[in-house]
């Protein structure tokens, strides 16, 4: 099995606020991420696909096709958007790195038909990221 990773970057804004909690509780839990008008990040997304290279093309999957899938499913949805207001799939969720990584997995997994989605890693900054794997998998299996 070979792992192939493609990286893309997008910029988006968000804020953390749970309407079921008081203003004080929101402030305590989320700190400056709760500032009312939001803030933004340059996100880096690494998508890893696992598979056997095709004997004819030598490819696990066509990178052009992966690029198009990422453009359609991630860039058009999230790049230069406000994640709280413009991404309906995140409605009712706090747009943390964990939740965004999980949504990206759910968006990509059914679209990748050559090879199998192995890992979605989303960096909110170089010091904070989330990894999403299918059931039972983890980086230990890398």
């Amino acid at each position: 099995m070979v792992l192939l990773t493609r990286k893309i970057e997008f910029s988006a804004s968000h804020l953390y606020h749970n309407p079921n909690l008081s203003a004080e509780e929101n402030r305590r839990l989320f700190g400056k991420c709760n500032n009312p008008h939001g803030h933004g990040h340059n996100y880096t997304l690494e998508v890893t696909v696992a598979g056997e290279p095709d004997p004819v093309t030598g490819m696990v999957l066509d990178l052009k096709e992966l690029k198009e899938i990422l453009e359609r499913e991630v860039m058009q949805r999230m790049d230069h958007r406000h994640l709280n207001y413009e991404v309906p799939e995140l409605a009712g969720q706090i747009p943390t790195c964990e939740n965004i990584a999980r949504l990206i997995w759910q968006l990509l997994e059914p679209r990748i038909t050559q090879g199998k989605l192995h890992r979605v890693r989303l960096y909110e900054s170089p010091d904070l990221f989330a990894d999403c794997y299918g059931n039972g998998a983890s980086a230990a299996a890398n």
Binding site: E98, Q106, A130, D131, C132, N135, S138
Partner: protein, 146 residues
């Protein structure tokens, strides 16, 4: 795929600067120098270490988080960075009074400390000693000599 079938991990990176000397009293002076080379120089040397940790658990629907970053940062600060940052690993960290402070052993020691984080499961510790060398430890029942 349903949410509960997915495994999500939160990764966080910290930095600390520390000195060390690779030396073991189990070997002669010549053997130490042969094995450890310039890392055996008598007064030690230092690195800017990058510590990357991953924790897993359920995403709390109220916060969207596996673990609150403030809790995780405070735990790492208290149990690792306070004792390691701007210190001599050989002299200031009890575990390295006996064990050689290689980055392999450093991974194991930090894993042992962070495993006690109460709000999520520690999956892995990865340490970059320099931009060219990195080490990972995901816990094991064998080979842990610290």
């Amino acid at each position: 795929m349903k949410n509960d079938l997915l495994h999500v991990e939160l990764g966080r990176r910290y930095k600390f600067a520390a000195s060390h000397r690779l030396h073991t009293p189990r070997l002669s002076e010549e053997e130490n120098y042969r094995v450890f080379g310039k890392c055996n120089n008598p007064h030690g040397h230092g690195h800017n270490y990058v510590l990357e940790i991953s924790v897993s658990g359920k995403i709390d629907p109220a916060t969207g988080m596996i673990a609150n970053l403030a809790d995780l940062d405070a735990f790492v600060e208290r149990h690792v960075l306070e004792e390691f940052d701007h210190h001599s690993l050989n002299d200031d960290v009890t575990a390295f009074h006996d064990a050689v402070p290689t980055t392999e052993n450093l991974c194991i020691e930090i894993f042992r400390r962070l495993q006690k984080f109460p709000h999520a499961k520690l999956e892995r510790v990865r340490i970059q000693e320099t931009g060219n060398n990195s080490f990972e430890y995901a816990g094991s029942t064998e080979g842990n000599h610290l």
